[in-house]
């Protein structure tokens, strides 16, 4: 795997007509190690980081206050009502979990496809996955109304003599999301072990040596260890690939198993998975562009990385557009009154402006990525990725709220208006997410150092290392005794 990666990198830099290299010129083992580790091991903290962390932390406090109030008063503080029983809570859940998917896609699927450009973005994309899943998990856990009883969702022998209903997609969700969170954490930690050893060996203060040393588990870079490590890492990637596809499929089952018009569609699983990757890459760009600028990481996160991510967004965005088109087609082709009404209500009903904003953000604006000039411009990429972040949130609003608010019984028809606590909870989780991201880039290497070492020209083995064992440079009979001193 590593070999293939470094060969790709090498070929890329040698071929004049090939794609540009995935690492800036002139880097060595020492320089990549120094550059990435020094961000973590520097003494003192940059002012910009402090300001960003402080603001995010305030957002997190807002979330904690909202949760406290919610636990006291109940979910009546939100705008949900009996017709629109799922609103911001589930919108935000799906939005966050979708964002997480790009991290696994980059770390697992692109690894299996031997895309060497993933190396410099996989670590922080994986961190993004973990933190996004943490934010996502909060919403359904709080939406149960009595979050202190959430452990009832897990199957365990209890005095009530009851078991969960495994035929319910909500149970599948519990298993899918908790498995996803666990496997993502394992994958992330495994990837960190060799870099933690680097930090342990490079740290000068005693306390850092001890903490990084404990986390590194005593990693010493033995080639036997590396061999097992590579096997385990590759197998984890192979396991994560179907896992990530299954998670958003199961999230889409929450809707498509139900009979609500606008939810009950077989297109949902692929369309949700594509939407998740779309949203996730947008978030990687949203975070990656400022981080790269602030820490001067242009040599590692090159324009080629940004361009590739833009292309993935364009492709997945078109799949999402196909999903929207199919929803319209089914509404007409099914000849079902309720489906037809659902589509008419989406496009021209009371929430028409949300639908058309969604089309603007998710379908219209991203078409700018066809133009090379915009794919090359970090400012434009950042702006477009922000549009997609907003668009994907609106998509879930359209799916959830506009489908629910026109029930089968016209007497139940109502409007949904979010309250201030819906917003403090939502923006609070953004603060929580950014707080975790800020802590991560301060205390852990945000780019995989050991994988970057495999990309530098020094890592290419010269031909004598590949010499056939049949023609040894030194006769085996010679042994240590006869070797020249």
């Amino acid at each position: 795997m590593a070999d293939a990666m470094k060969q790709t990198g090498q070929e890329a830099s040698n071929a004049a007509y090939g794609p540009p290299p995935v690492i800036g010129p002139g880097h060595t083992f020492a320089s990549v190690t120094e550059k990435i580790a020094s961000i973590v091991l520097r003494k003192g903290t940059k002012r910009g980081w402090m300001v960003g962390f402080g603001l995010s932390f305030l957002g997190m406090l807002m979330m904690l206050n909202t949760i406290t109030y919610l636990v006291f008063k109940g979910i009546g503080i939100w705008g949900n009502n009996t017709t629109v029983g799922w609103a911001f809570d589930i919108i935000n859940f799906v939005w966050w979990i979708g964002i997480g998917h790009a991290g696994t896609l980059i770390s697992a699927i692109l690894l299996l496809m031997r895309q060497s450009w993933r190396t410099s973005i996989n670590r922080f994309a994986e961190a993004m996955t973990l933190f996004a899943v943490a934010c996502a998990g909060l919403f359904p856990a709080l939406h149960t109304g009595r979050p202190w009883l959430d452990y009832w969702l897990f199957p365990y022998p209890n005095t009530m003599g009851m078991w969960p209903n495994f035929r319910s997609p909500l149970m599948w969700d519990v298993f899918a999301v908790s498995t996803y969170a666990t496997v993502s954490a394992l994958f992330w930690f495994i990837g960190l072990i060799p870099d933690l050893a680097t930090l342990r060996d490079r740290a000068t203060s005693k306390i850092r040596k001890v903490i990084y040393g404990m986390l590194a588990l005593g990693w010493r870079g033995s080639t036997r260890h590396w061999s097992r490590y590579e096997t385990a890492y590759l197998l984890l990637a192979g396991l994560s690939t179907p896992l990530v596809l299954s998670v958003h499929t199961i999230v889409s089952f929450d809707f498509s198993i139900g009979i609500i018009p606008g939810w009950h569609a077989t297109i949902f699983p692929p369309y949700f998975v594509a939407g998740a990757i779309y949203a996730g890459f947008a978030m990687v760009l949203t975070l990656g562009i400022p981080i790269r600028k602030y820490y001067g990481l242009d040599d590692f996160i090159t324009n080629r990385h940004l361009r590739n991510m833009a292309k993935v967004m364009l492709a997945t965005g078109l799949i999402v557009g196909y999903g929207y088109a199919m929803e319209a087609f089914f509404a007409w082709y099914s000849a079902n009154t309720y489906e037809a009404y659902m589509y008419k209500n989406r496009t021209t009903g009371p929430y028409w402006y949300i639908y058309w904003l969604l089309i603007l953000c998710n379908i219209a604006v991203p078409q700018l990525l066809w133009i090379k000039k915009y794919r090359e411009s970090t400012v434009m990429l950042f702006v477009i990725s922000m549009f997609i972040n907003v668009g994907m949130w609106l998509e879930r609003f359209v799916i959830i709220v506009t489908s629910l608010h026109r029930d089968f019984l016209p007497s139940a028809w109502t409007m949904y208006t979010p309250t201030v606590f819906d917003f403090t909870m939502f923006f609070g989780t953004i603060g929580f997410f950014l707080t975790l991201m800020f802590l991560f880039i301060r205390i852990l290497p945000m780019i995989s150092i050991y994988e970057m070492r495999t990309m530098v020209p020094e890592a290419k083995l010269k031909s004598e290392a590949h010499a056939s064992p049949d023609k040894p440079a030194m006769p085996p009979a010679g042994g240590p005794q006869e070797s020249p001193a």
Binding site: A30, F166, R220, R453, L461, P476
Partner: protein, 181 residues
């Protein structure tokens, strides 16, 4: 004196500054008949583990066992709770409604297989192990950054402090040092 010193030696550590040198050295050491040795590098080098004669590992087997355990545990849990312990008759539909059990079975399979991969790798590697004699080698902290090391251990049948040192020096090592236990 010499015997005492040798009994306190874990092995001889040779330092190299490029990956090709360490792979070539490891190959020659293997050809010379040394078996109890290990190489240390700041990133994975497939050729290096091949060179010291380490060809396969048992991580995939543990992953398979973990995955199968998850598969049967997940399916078994659902069948037992839904059909035996707490049967719910919904309009006379079958109690073992296996298509509805696929998602949880799949997730359990992946979960236990992933634990198999991670714990299998960590435990087979003998980690966590905060102390190891090789850390006593001077400059060994570079093994996690820029340099490559080959250690021939004293337990090897062919190990001889003087001769092995000469042999390692002949391989183009920057420096050869004793590693104390």
């Amino acid at each position: 004196m010499n015997v005492n010193k040798e009994s306190n030696i874990y092995g001889l550590m040779a330092e190299f500054d490029n990956p090709t040198a360490v792979v070539v050295a490891a190959k020659k050491a293997h050809e010379a008949g040394y078996r109890k040795m290990d190489a240390y590098s700041p990133y994975p080098i497939e050729e290096l583990s091949e060179a010291i004669g380490f060809h396969s590992n048992r991580v995939p087997l543990i992953v398979l066992v973990g995955g199968l355990a998850g598969l049967f545990a997940g399916l078994g849990l659902q069948i037992w709770t839904s059909a035996i312990e707490y049967p719910l008759n919904v309009g006379g539909r079958p109690l073992i409604s296996w298509p509805a059990f696929v998602p949880v079975t799949f997730e359990m399979t992946v979960l236990l297989a992933a634990f198999g991969a991670v714990l299998g790798m960590i435990l087979l590697n003998g980690l966590p192990r905060p102390y190891h004699p090789v850390f006593n080698a001077p400059r060994f902290e570079l093994a996690s950054r820029t340099h490559f090391f080959l250690c021939i251990e004293a337990e090897d049948a062919k190990f001889d402090l003087g001769e092995t040192r000469k042999f390692l020096e002949s391989l183009g090592a920057n420096e050869v040092t004793d590693v104390e236990k």
